[in-house]
Symmetry: C2
Subunit: 364 residues, 2 copies
């Protein structure tokens, strides 16, 4: 096998090696089928089995109750920013509430404003997007069409630890960067959507878990490709689905079920990994300046700053020498970000923690 490094990219991101190896075996000819996984028809028996197994894996992992559909779409979270209000807000005479905890929440808001009225129920701007709100801080409209949250803000590294209390209003969650990182009480949500390229698979497939009564709301005049109802009725095969992306989601969820042993275990591992890094930050006497407030810290994206640009360059170079890559923060906020999604091995995080400790000792 070619040498692999530890890549802390925020997405597209690290995938389980067992899933990559299985896909590799099927890339030229699937045994017993005789064609590549990239060539199989979305209408074939082989693919029908794959998409059904992928859905079954997700239902099992998240314990998704009856009354929810699981859709496999294209266009990433960005297209969901638009599809949610097209389906739930357009022509409904209601307003949507947005809880803005970082860059992605900010991006979702104007997409709703194209389709109807959208209010900011809480804005993290005043606290530099360093935390999520308490329930008591939310200014909610009890007649809203839905409340939109971003469960994990990749760029700022802040994450909801539990669901905010939104009463009977449907909770819509952009879970792109932490989907499947812990068990979820799915019945508290109206819609959970996630692009694949962080915790699920390669870029190009988006999973949408949606409650039946919300599927039923799609306006008739909406184009089929943007219409949850059409996509649900067609079982994600109204048109040619992104077959390979769905196959990869199958392999990643196989790994979660069989190698990891489910989401309780995955959650425990994720806490252990994140704590390794937050402990270094907290024990560095301020050398590492963590961005998120402790109670809102993300288990997926650990964000911190160093004293000055010269030190930052030294940090990047030192990390690269130990095969630790893609640690720079998003261009909009600077600093560093270690993305440690489900598939980042413990060994990678241990090696990063060790490097950070030594680097602080030598330079602090």
């Amino acid at each position: 096998m070619e040498k692999r490094v530890f890549d802390f990219s925020p997405g597209p991101a690290v995938l389980p090696v067992s899933a990559l190896q299985e896909a590799q075996r099927n890339l030229v000819a699937m045994p017993g089928v005789g064609i590549s996984i990239l060539e199989i028809s979305h209408r074939s028996a082989t693919f029908t089995e794959i998409i059904e197994k992928t859905e079954a894996n997700l239902r099992k992992l998240l314990n998704i109750p009856e009354g929810y559909q699981v859709l496999f779409l294209q266009g990433g979270a960005h297209l969901q920013f638009a599809m949610v209000p097209m389906n739930l807000l357009r022509g409904k005479g209601k307003s949507a509430d947005f809880v803005v905890t970082g860059t992605w929440g900010k991006k979702a808001l104007p997409e709703a404003q194209r389709e109807g009225k959208a209010r900011v129920a809480w804005d993290g701007k005043a606290t530099n997007f360093s935390r999520v709100p308490k329930d008591s801080e939310l200014d909610l409209d009890k007649d809203a069409a839905y409340v939109h949250i971003t469960s994990n803000e990749t760029i700022q590294g802040v994450q909801f630890q539990t669901e905010p209390a939104v009463g009977n209003v449907p909770l819509v969650c952009d879970s792109s960067s932490d989907f499947l990182h812990r068990p979820l009480p799915v019945d508290k949500y109206g819609i959970i959507y996630a692009c694949a390229q962080k915790n699920l698979g390669p870029a190009g497939v988006t999973v949408v878990v949606i409650r039946d009564d919300l599927v039923a709301q799609s306006p008739e005049e909406l184009s089929p490709m943007l219409n949850y109802k059409v996509m649900a009725e067609g079982k994600s095969l109204y048109n040619t689905a992104p077959t390979f992306g769905i196959y990869m989601v199958k392999l990643v969820t196989d790994w979660l079920l069989n190698d990891i042993g489910g989401l309780d275990k995955m959650h425990a591992i994720n806490k252990q990994k994140a704590n390794l890094l937050y402990d270094v930050i907290d024990g560095s006497s301020g050398f590492y300046d963590g961005h998120a407030e402790p109670a809102s810290r993300s288990l997926m994206n650990v964000t911190f700053r160093l004293p000055d640009p010269e030190m930052e360059k030294k940090f990047v170079d030192g990390a690269a020498k130990r095969d630790l890559h893609s640690l720079k923060g998003h261009r909009s906020v600077g600093g560093f970000r270690a993305s440690i999604y489900n598939a980042m091995p413990m060994e990678g995080v241990e090696r990063l923690a060790e490097f950070m400790t030594e680097f602080a000792k030598q330079n602090g």
Copy 2:
């Protein structure tokens, strides 16, 4: 290598073995990079080089002139059915002309009617979608926003051999199932769009070649993900692009340039392959009933019928014994369809022609 069969599926479809093997080598760790091609960031130097090379390959193969953008989008041809009128028809006070030569043209029309006025400039229904129109048959509106054609109708197997004359009105072409099968005079087109899963790569990426003056028409209020202008300004990286799909398009276009030697050569091979099958049909004394009229025959999808359902079953079974698969016609029209896209090897077509000749002799 695992055994490969000949698969005549209409899409997702056969890909060049050299491209599959190259992708396989990079699936766990790219040499010198240390991560999988599935894990590389869309903002990385590695991917920047891939997407730039993919565009350069397309520009070289099709001789795309200055003044055209090349976009890599998601959502397949179906989303283009909606995006074209959203961008070119919405709020413009003009009408669009549709030349309907088969199932896909029929599907594109109502998507335009959601956004404005759309007329049928010619309808193949009266002739059972067995041919494309002559220029003299087109009922064109000289003030139309655009004329939409489907260059190859996959289900019926009819194909435009050259561009219809549409005057100064922009010609918009769904080239999903024959893109890159021959050289194209790109300057005759306003937009050429193609989903990848026939001649280009795996499902999940769509190539759009669009003239600058049409890019400039996108309405401001349109959501970024549906907006050609936003996608062109972001060089297809406004959001996370379908990185692996684009990489596969690079490998397939590398193969066309380096192994095949360009589109003139590809066109000659495609004519040779298609003629092998049409010659069997024409020489079968009516045993094989070809669907398309000879002058409109597709080089990509060869459609024909057998005398009765019992014979059809026997044909499928006999073909499978020779490793010839996925020959059944679309459920809406029945019969048979041999999809012989660019990547279908000559050997596969020769073997099918041989089987068809013997089958006719034994059963005719």
